[in-house]
C-alpha cells in the first residue's frame, strides 16, 4: 500500500477526472474538426480552460486536483487517437441520442512517446497541490473498442496493460504522486474480473505513486469483495446515485483500501444540499476511517454545465469541512 503524500487527518477532497468543457472549447473543437482553426489555436484554448479549472479547484481548496480533461473527447477515444495499433472507428450509439466513435484494434498496440505527460506537467505548473495523472485502464480500452487483431481479449488486454504501465512510469518520472487508472468497465463481466486484476497488476507493479482506479456501479454486489483484489491503493466508487447502498456490502465484508467516495450524482441537474452530503459522509465513516477516505463526485462531471459542476464541487468541499469540524 502506498500512502498518499498528503497532510492532515484524512477526508481529502479530489475529483474523478473530467470537468465540463466551457462553451468556447466546444465551439473551438467544432471549428477545428471543420478545419477552420489550427491545432495550435485549439491547444491555446484548451490550456486556458485547464488553467481556469485548476484555479477554480485551488480557490475551493481541493486537496488533489485534476486537469479536467479539456483536451479529451472521451476517455477511450483519446488513447485510441494517440496509441499505435488503434484506429478511430465509425459512430455507434451508447444511449438515447448519444453516439461515440468506437475505436478498432487493427494491429499490435504501442506507444512511441508519452501521451499525457505534457498535460500533466502543464497542470502541475499551475498549482502547488498535487495533480493526478489520469489514464484509462487496459480492460476498459479493450471492452470499449472493437478487436480485429488479437486472437483473444486477454491477449489484447495484457498488451494494452504494458502500454499503460509505460505511460504511468513516465508520469511518475515527471513527478506524479497520484496516478489514476480508470476501469469503469471492470464490473461488466464477473467472469473477467480476474483479467482486470491481472492487467492492473502489470500496470501498478513498478509504481511507487498512490494508485487509484475508478469503477462505475455496474454489478457491484457481485463484484464485491473480489474487486478488493485489484492491485491499487484506492478504489473510487459511486455512492450518491444509489443512496449509499454499497455500504451494505461493506457491512458484510470490510473495505480494506483507501476509498474515493462519490457523494454527488453526476447525471442530475439537481444540487445535493450540503447537509445531505454531510450525512452521506458520516454514514460512510462508520465503515471506513477518515485517514483512508477521499471525497469526490460519483463520476466525471463532464456532462454537467460549468456552473452546475462548480456548485457540486463547492458543496463537496463545504460538506467535508463540516464533517472535519466535528470528527
Amino acid at each position: 500500500m502506498h500512502k498518499p503524500d498528503l497532510e492532515g487527518p484524512g477526508l481529502w477532497t479530489t475529483s474523478v477526472g473530467s470537468f465540463p468543457k466551457p462553451p468556447y472549447i466546444l465551439e473551438a473543437r467544432g471549428k477545428y474538426a471543420r478545419g477552420e482553426i489550427s491545432r495550435d489555436d485549439l491547444l491555446e484554448l484548451e490550456r486556458k480552460a485547464t488553467k481556469e479549472w485548476i484555479e477554480f479547484q485551488d480557490g475551493v481548496g481541493t486537496d488533489v486536483v485534476v486537469d479536467g480533461e479539456m483536451y479529451r473527447g472521451d476517455m477511450v477515444a483519446f488513447f485510441a487517437e494517440e496509441l499505435q495499433g488503434l484506429e478511430i472507428g465509425g459512430l455507434v450509439r451508447s444511449y438515447g441520442n448519444r453516439y461515440y466513435r468506437k475505436p478498432i484494434a487493427t494491429g499490435p498496440v504501442g506507444r512511441d512517446k508519452p501521451i499525457t505527460v505534457d498535460w500533466w506537467e502543464y497542470a502541475q505548473s499551475l498549482t502547488t497541490k498535487p495533480v493526478k495523472g489520469m489514464l484509462t485502464g487496459p480492460y476498459t480500452i479493450c471492452d470499449w473498442s472493437f478487436n480485429e487483431h488479437y486472437p483473444t481479449r486477454r491477449d489484447y488486454v495484457l498488451d494494452l496493460a504494458k502500454v499503460i504501465r509505460d505511460e504511468a512510469l513516465d508520469l511518475e518520472k515527471a513527478g506524479a504522486k497520484f496516478i489514476q487508472i480508470d476501469e469503469p468497465a471492470a464490473s461488466t463481466r464477473m467472469d473477467e474480473l480476474d483479467l482486470v486484476i491481472e492487467a492492473m497488476a502489470i500496470v501498478t507493479e513498478p509504481l511507487t505513486a498512490h494508485t487509484i482506479t475508478h469503477i462505475c456501479y455496474g454489478d457491484f454486489h457481485h463484484a464485491y469483495p473480489k474487486m478488493l483484489d485489484i492491485p491499487v491503493d484506492q478504489i473510487d466508487l459511486e455512492f450518491a446515485n444509489s443512496d449509499y447502498s454499497l455500504l451494505e456490502d461493506f457491512a458484510r465484508v470490510p473495505f480494506t483500501k483507501y476509498i474515493g467516495l462519490g457523494v454527488v450524482d453526476v447525471h442530475t441537474h439537481e444540487q445535493e444540499p450540503v447537509e445531505d452530503i454531510v450525512a452521506g459522509i458520516r454514514r460512510s465513516l462508520e465503515f471506513i476511517p477518515p485517514e483512508r477516505m477521499f471525497v469526490d463526485s460519483d463520476c466525471g462531471l463532464k456532462t454537467r454545465t460549468v456552473d452546475e459542476a462548480k456548485t457540486k464541487l463547492s458543496h463537496i468541499k463545504d460538506a467535508v469541512e463540516e464533517v472535519k469540524r466535528n470528527l
Binding site: 472507428g89 465509425g90 459512430l91 455507434v92 444511449y95 438515447g96 441520442n97 472493437f146 480485429e148 463481466r189
Partner: protein, 326 residues
C-alpha cells in the same frame, strides 16, 4: 426449400461517414426549439426506409424496421402501458450501451398498441417480409423494477397479458412472424416455467397455423437451460452462436419441425467473417436441422456496429447462404 436469412432486430442509426445524421440533428433541434416532434417522425420514417432498403439490397429475406424509432426494446412498450414509469440508465447486458429501466408503480394495463403503426409502416414500405419484434415477459420483468406487485410471478404474468394484446394486434396488422426477445432467460433458468406460462398467454392469442413465433436469445449460451429451452411453446428458437459457442451442442437436440434462427455473424465486432467459413457452418446447420427449418442471422441486433460494417456483414451472410445452398 432454401435456407432463409434474417436479422435479430436493430440496425445502426448513424449514416455512412460524411452523410448528414438527420435524426440526431432533429432531436438536438427539438431541445433547442428549432425542430418539432413532427419533423422527428418524418426523419424516422426516412430512416426506416433507408434501413429497409439496405437490408433488402443485401438480400435478407426476413427483415425488421431496424428499431429505427426505439432507443431500446423496453421503453417503447413500457411507456405505452399503464403502471410503468421510465427510470434511469442501466448497462444493456455486457455492452457499453445503456437502456432506461422501466419502473412499475401501479397495475399494468394495456393502453393501445405500442408497435403496430411502426410495423404497418415498415411492411407497407418493404418488399421483403417484415418481422415484428416484442420483448419477452421474463426479460421485461428482470430488466425492470417492480415497486408494485412485489411478486415476480405476478409481475411477469401481468406483463405477458399486455404483450399478448400487442402480439394479437400485430398479427391483425399482418405480421406473419413475431419474434419474442428473451435474452435475460439465459441467465435465469429458474424462470423457465414462468416463461412458459407467459408465452402461453402470448401465443394463445395467435392463430397458430398462420403465424410463426420465434423466441430469440442472444449475448450468451443456453447451457443452463439445456434442451428444456426447446419445450417452450413457440415455433422457433434464436441462438447466438458467437457469444455462446456452447449453443452448437444444443442444436442436435432441437425437436423435429422446430425452426432454428442461428446467429452466426458477430454483431458486436467489426471483424468480417470469411464467406467460406460461414458457408461451411451454414451447410452443417442445414444438415442438422433441415434447410427448411433454418434461418441464419447475425448474433444480435446490428446496432453495435457502424453502418458500413453492418451492411458488409449482411452481404457476407447472404453470400455464404447462397454458397451453402449450392
Amino acid at each position: 426449400m432454401t435456407i432463409r436469412t434474417t436479422v435479430v432486430g436493430s440496425y445502426p442509426k448513424p449514416p455512412d461517414e460524411g452523410d448528414t445524421f438527420v435524426v440526431r440533428k432533429t432531436i438536438h433541434g427539438i431541445d433547442k426549439g428549432a425542430t418539432t416532434v413532427d419533423d422527428l417522425h418524418k426523419a424516422q420514417d426516412e430512416l426506416v426506409r433507408t434501413m429497409i432498403s439496405e437490408q433488402e439490397a443485401a438480400g435478407i429475406d426476413v427483415i425488421t424496421d431496424g428499431h429505427a424509432r426505439w432507443d431500446d426494446i423496453l421503453t417503447p412498450f413500457a411507456s405505452h402501458m399503464a403502471g410503468f414509469e421510465i427510470g434511469g440508465l442501466l448497462r444493456w447486458f455486457d455492452n457499453n450501451v445503456y437502456y432506461r429501466r422501466p419502473i412499475c408503480t401501479g397495475d399494468i394495463e394495456w393502453r393501445g398498441p405500442a408497435s403496430v403503426d411502426a410495423f404497418r409502416f415498415a411492411s407497407e414500405t418493404a418488399t421483403a417480409t417484415v418481422k415484428a419484434v416484442i420483448p419477452g415477459p421474463v426479460t421485461f420483468a428482470r430488466l425492470s423494477v417492480d415497486e408494485h406487485y412485489n411478486d415476480h410471478e405476478a409481475f411477469v404474468l401481468a406483463i405477458a397479458g399486455v404483450l399478448a394484446q400487442e402480439a394479437f394486434e400485430l398479427e391483425a396488422a399482418g405480421a406473419k412472424i413475431i419474434q419474442i426477445d428473451e435474452p435475460a432467460l439465459l441467465g435465469a433458468p429458474e424462470d423457465l416455467d414462468l416463461a412458459r406460462r407467459g408465452l402461453e398467454i402470448i401465443t394463445g392469442e395467435l392463430k397458430g397455423a398462420e403465424t410463426t413465433t420465434v423466441l430469440a436469445t442472444y449475448f450468451g449460451d443456453a447451457k443452463r437451460l439445456g434442451a428444456d429451452l426447446f419445450t417452450l411453446p413457440v415455433d422457433g428458437f434464436g441462438l447466438d452462436l458467437v457469444a455462446g459457442p456452447e449453443n452448437s451442442g444444443l442444436i442436435p437436440l432441437l425437436p423435429r419441425g422446430k425452426r432454428l434462427q442461428a446467429g452466426i455473424v458477430d454483431a458486436r465486432n467489426t471483424m468480417l467473417e470469411p464467406v467460406d467459413t460461414l458457408a461451411a457452418q451454414i451447410a452443417e446447420l442445414a444438415a442438422t436441422v433441415g434447410a427448411e427449418n433454418l434461418m441464419v442471422a447475425p448474433s444480435a441486433g446490428l446496432e453495435f456496429l457502424p453502418r458500413e460494417k453492418a451492411r458488409a456483414k449482411l452481404g457476407r451472410l447472404v453470400e455464404a447462404t447462397q454458397k451453402a445452398g449450392v
